[in-house]
């Protein structure tokens, strides 16, 4: 019988640093192997950026070993290594993710590929075709939809907040389950709700804890800061460039600016680049169908194209004199319109660029955020950056409070904290253990954690067997375990406990008998029949509680044990008693044998 004790094992490949890390977790549950996320480590330029998949299986194909891959959201440190994994290492099984993730992932992957290969001239990187081939293996899922990966493994996605399309996943095999959070956020945003999960009580909750030790400043303060900066720049006649990726964060900032412009009666124009508006429509539809009711209601009112102060951008406007604010893609200033505008405006110290998030190494965004002020552009041209560089991250992760909230919602048996650095989080571990009375694990990168589980397996017991047990006297105590003797039949995912006889009958098998035979030598010169008689008399008097019989053929029986007397072949004075018994009467048989070996009492005359 296998699978009675479920076992978990997992493996984490994480990076160093908070913004820079990669997630890739392997979980073995109920005999199934699931890979959670497949991230790229953004800090490295060589093979170190990819997880070491040889950890998973030394030989043997990944497709055979893994039952599925799950991607939590489109950030590159969670999906950046996916095309490498599926097309270059080799995996042909299903890859699960939400619909928005499926739509946005390939765009980010292609962007990243362009930067790595075209800008930095890297080899051994996945190609555009590989990205396409990889995405063909994707199966998109809806929130709260139970998806059967096979007849034993099922998964379900839950809303995670954080970014558009981000999900937490429950992985279930039989009665055992794991929940993986990916990145999530417990405080709602303007355009994203808070993560939510039901009281699913998984055996294990795997949660990102990189931000567990941070206490985040209030969103209102950050927003106020953002507005203050934009205002200052515009007031001094400067131009503000805000590189953004797509819908979502950009929309939120637009709403902010629109309200502020209205309140302060500002006249400087705000533009939204055309590249964005095209994508925006598509994402807008995707987003609206995916988000929840509450967000939909508040959001729908602020349709992107209904802004009073925000207009569509035309390339030529960049040269217009006077202050303005422009939202342009792409987000890391690595190509396209945002980079074009940046080059025009970088030389003027009245201007400002506000970077909205982490930028990949090699991009202009990354360089200027690192403090670089002289940039080498194409054709050896050097661009001097005099404009003000600001960083404004609005992305949200769960802090300690958020993690506690989620643990409280899901009610897991154990918690596992995943973090980028091997830093000590003993305090959080204790906090979780004390508050929820659960075990909390905090493994380092590359470490394996095994959690024993005791799944309950329902077994049907046959009525006959039950009755027989009851008939043995001693009414069963409902709370105490009771030892039963029977045969377990496993058929069609069904467990039945029946008596051995019934099992034999059902299976059409004959019962084998085990018979033991022992020879006891007795000194007795009389005839065999008389010896037998003596044996009979002796046993009858000694074994009063057993049924001793003298059969017509001369043999003696004690219960089912048979004793036959025969003359010794060589010595007529010695008689040989053949004692035979079945396996069931082992004890009595042994007793009988030792009794007979002591010899028979002298016959009375």
């Amino acid at each position: 019988v296998c699978g009675v004790n479920g076992r978990f094992a997992w493996l984490v490949e994480g990076g160093a640093g908070q913004d820079v890390g990669r997630s890739c977790i392997l979980v073995s549950i109920g005999g199934k192997n699931v890979m959670l996320d497949c991230g790229m480590h953004m800090g490295f330029n060589d093979d170190r950026r990819f997880p070491d998949f040889s950890y998973i299986t030394r030989n043997g194909r990944l497709t055979d070993f893994l039952d599925c891959v799950i991607i939590s959201h489109f950030h590159l440190d969670h999906c950046g290594a996916l095309p490498y994994f599926s097309e270059m290492v080799g995996y042909d099984g299903p890859i699960y993710m939400t619909h928005p993730t499926q739509a946005i992932c390939p765009i980010l992957l292609e962007d990243y590929r362009k930067i790595a290969v075209d800008k930095k001239g890297e080899a051994n990187f996945f190609t555009s075709q590989m990205i396409k081939d990889c995405m063909k293996k994707v199966v998109a899922v809806h929130l709260h939809q139970t998806v059967q990966v096979d007849d034993e493994l099922e998964i379900k996605a839950y809303y995670a907040g954080h970014v558009l399309g981000a999900a937490m996943f429950q992985i279930k095999v039989g009665s055992e389950s794991v929940v993986y959070t990916g990145d999530y956020n417990m405080t709602p945003d303007r355009h994203l709700g808070a993560a939510w999960i039901d009281k699913c009580r998984p055996n294990l909750l795997i949660t990102e804890s990189t931000y567990a030790t941070t206490i985040r400043d209030s969103k209102r303060c950050r927003e106020r800061d953002f507005l203050k900066k934009v205002h200052e720049a515009v007031e001094r006649g400067g131009k503000v460039l805000i590189p953004v990726f797509a819908l979502g964060r950009a929309q939120e900032l637009c709403i902010l600016l629109e309200t502020f412009w209205e309140r302060m009666n500002l006249k400087a124009p705000i533009y939204f680049s055309t590249g964005l508006t095209e994508k925006a429509n598509h994402y807008y539809k995707l987003f609206i169908t995916w988000t929840n009711q509450k967000i939909r209601k508040t959001f729908v009112q602020r349709n992107m194209f209904e802004f009073k102060h925000i207009k569509a951008f035309d390339r030529a406007f960049a040269d217009n004199p006077g202050p303005m604010v422009v939202f342009a893609t792409p987000g890391m200033l690595h190509a396209g319109q945002s980079l074009q505008i940046f080059r025009k405006w970088a030389g003027n110290e009245k201007n400002m660029v506000i970077m909205p998030g982490y930028c990949v190494q090699g991009t202009v965004g990354h360089k200027i955020l690192s403090g670089q002020r002289k940039l080498e552009m194409e054709g050896r041209q050097v661009l001097e950056v005099k404009m003000q560089v600001e960083y404004m991250s609005f992305s949200a992760h769960a802090d300690a409070k958020g993690i506690m909230q989620l643990v409280g919602q899901a009610e897991p048996e154990s918690v596992l904290l995943v973090h980028g650095e091997a830093k000590k989080m003993e305090f959080l571990k204790q906090k979780i253990e004390q508050e929820f009375r659960v075990s909390c694990y905090m493994p380092a990168n590359g470490e394996t954690v095994t959690l024993p589980t005791s799944p309950s397996i329902p077994v049907g017991i046959s009525l006959g067997l039950l009755k027989r047990e009851m008939a043995q006297g001693l009414l069963p105590d409902a709370k105490k375990p009771r030892l039963l003797h029977g045969t377990l039949i496993m058929k069609d995912s069904n467990f039945r406990l029946v008596s051995s006889e019934q099992a034999l009958k059902e299976l059409g098998l004959a019962e084998h008998q085990l018979r033991f035979t022992c020879r006891v030598h007795l000194h007795d010169p009389r005839k065999e029949q008389e010896t037998a008689m003596r044996v009979y008399s002796h046993l009858k008097s000694v074994l009063k509680e057993h049924c001793v019989q003298h059969l017509p053929d001369g043999s003696v029986t004690v219960e089912s044990i048979l004793i036959q007397a025969a003359a010794h072949s060589e010595d007529p004075g010695t008689k040989v008693l053949l004692v035979s018994w079945t396996y069931q009467d082992e004890e009595l048989g042994s007793h009988l044998t030792s009794l007979l070996k002591k010899g028979l009492p002298q016959a009375t005359s």
């Binding site: 030790t213 941070t214 206490i215 985040r216 400043d217 209030s218 209102r220 303060c221 950050r222 106020r224 900066k229 955020l369 403090g371 003000q388 560089v389 600001e390 960083y391 991250s393 300690a400 409070k401 506690m404 830093k423 000590k424 989080m425 003993e426 305090f427 959080l428 204790q430 906090k431 004390q434």
Partner: protein, 361 residues
């Protein structure tokens, strides 16, 4: 009135009544609930607030929990023992002080020992101040008669007030290796030299109508020339400035514009700005922190206006609760002259920097 230079708002998981600096990069906060485990946290200030230049390049705007510990009792006061990794806390029940250690290789604040103090009844808890030296001593007491200094390591009593006076203490402050200042809830102030038998220089005692008021006080650190260096604050808003050489006659006094007496006089706090002359901060009346320039007062006790009022705890209140939040404590940044931290009963923690429009500072 006034304008912010900077303002950052944070939410702790539980409200704190303490804000104690550990060097100039971190503060300790602690919970004060009575029926549950409270957390003691050592927080590192956001990096961004430590730099002056290129603030924009520093994405780190968050506090980091560097260390955390669990206290079974509520924490009303927390003091860091200078040049050590030790903390001393006091709260209810008021029969013990707790000593904690903050270690380098773990993020857990460990309980080290407890110091038994004079049994106190009801809601009285001992005030704590630290004599930091080669052998640090803990000055503690809930009443004048119970005032003692206990050697932190040996737990032997090295000083005792030896008086039978049962006046309740409100503030205790160590001034140097040999002297400390006390303020009683009644307003009685005194400076004590521990090398002598109890003979404090003190004021005459509670003034008229004093019974209705509760007082606290603080002695200022940095001084430029002669002048008042002791501020005492009454629960009705009266603020008195005194010269330590003559505690009986306040040099100057004014009345803070508070709409009502403090609902929790134990939370009253007056502090001197370490980096500015004659500058005080006051909290505990409501959800605001008020900054005063004492040189602008006429000193006759009439109403004075703050040069700045921090209203963030009221304005940023997210949930509509019945009671407005009350500022539980505040502290000045050790070397950024106009930066303060303030905490309120709704678990908010603010770091703010105000613009000084005064001519010279």
């Amino acid at each position: 009135g006034g304008e912010y230079q900077d303002f950052h708002a944070f939410d702790l998981s539980e409200a704190t009544r303490v804000l104690e600096w550990i060097d100039d990069k971190g503060v300790c906060v602690a919970g004060y609930e009575s029926l549950k485990k409270n957390e003691i946290l050592h927080l590192l200030l956001p990096l961004r607030l430590s730099v002056k230049e290129n603030q924009g390049l520093f994405p780190e705007r968050d506090f980091k929990v560097r260390h955390g510990g669990f206290s079974d009792t509520s924490v009303f006061d927390l003091k860091h023992v200078l040049d050590t990794r030790l903390l001393v806390t006091s709260g209810l029940p008021g029969c013990h002080l707790h000593v904690w250690q903050v270690t380098e290789d773990s993020d857990v604040i460990q309980a080290v020992s407890t110091i038994a103090v004079q049994e106190e009844e009801g809601s009285l808890w001992p005030r704590v101040a630290i004599f930091s030296s080669m052998a640090p001593g803990v000055l503690h007491g809930a009443r004048l008669r119970g005032l003692k200094v206990v050697d932190l390591e040996t737990q032997k009593t090295t000083y005792s007030s030896g008086v039978g006076d049962s006046e309740e203490l409100s503030s205790l402050q160590v001034l140097d290796a040999d002297t400390f200042a006390f303020c009683c809830a009644s307003g009685r102030l005194g400076l004590v030299d521990i090398r002598q038998k109890w003979a404090p220089s003190e004021n005459a005692g509670p003034g008229p109508g004093a019974a209705a008021r509760r007082w606290c006080a603080e002695v200022g650190g940095r001084r430029r020339g002669p002048g008042p260096s002791i501020a005492s604050l009454g629960s009705d808003g009266q603020l008195c400035l005194l010269d330590p050489r003559d505690l009986c006659h306040p040099v100057s006094s004014g009345r803070c514009p508070v709409s009502a007496p403090s609902p929790a006089p134990e939370l009253l706090r007056v502090t001197w700005a370490p980096g500015l002359d004659d500058c005080l901060a006051v909290s505990g009346f409501d959800g605001t922190v008020q900054v005063y320039d004492a040189t602008s007062w006429d000193g006759t006790g009439g109403q004075v206006e703050p040069v700045f009022t921090h209203r963030g705890h009221i304005f940023l209140e997210d949930n509509q609760t019945d009671t407005a939040p009350l500022v539980t404590t505040h502290t000045w940044h050790p070397h950024k002259p106009r930066t303060l931290l303030s905490a309120a009963s709704d678990a908010s923690l603010h770091v703010w920097d105000w613009v000084d429009h005064r001519a010279a500072c």
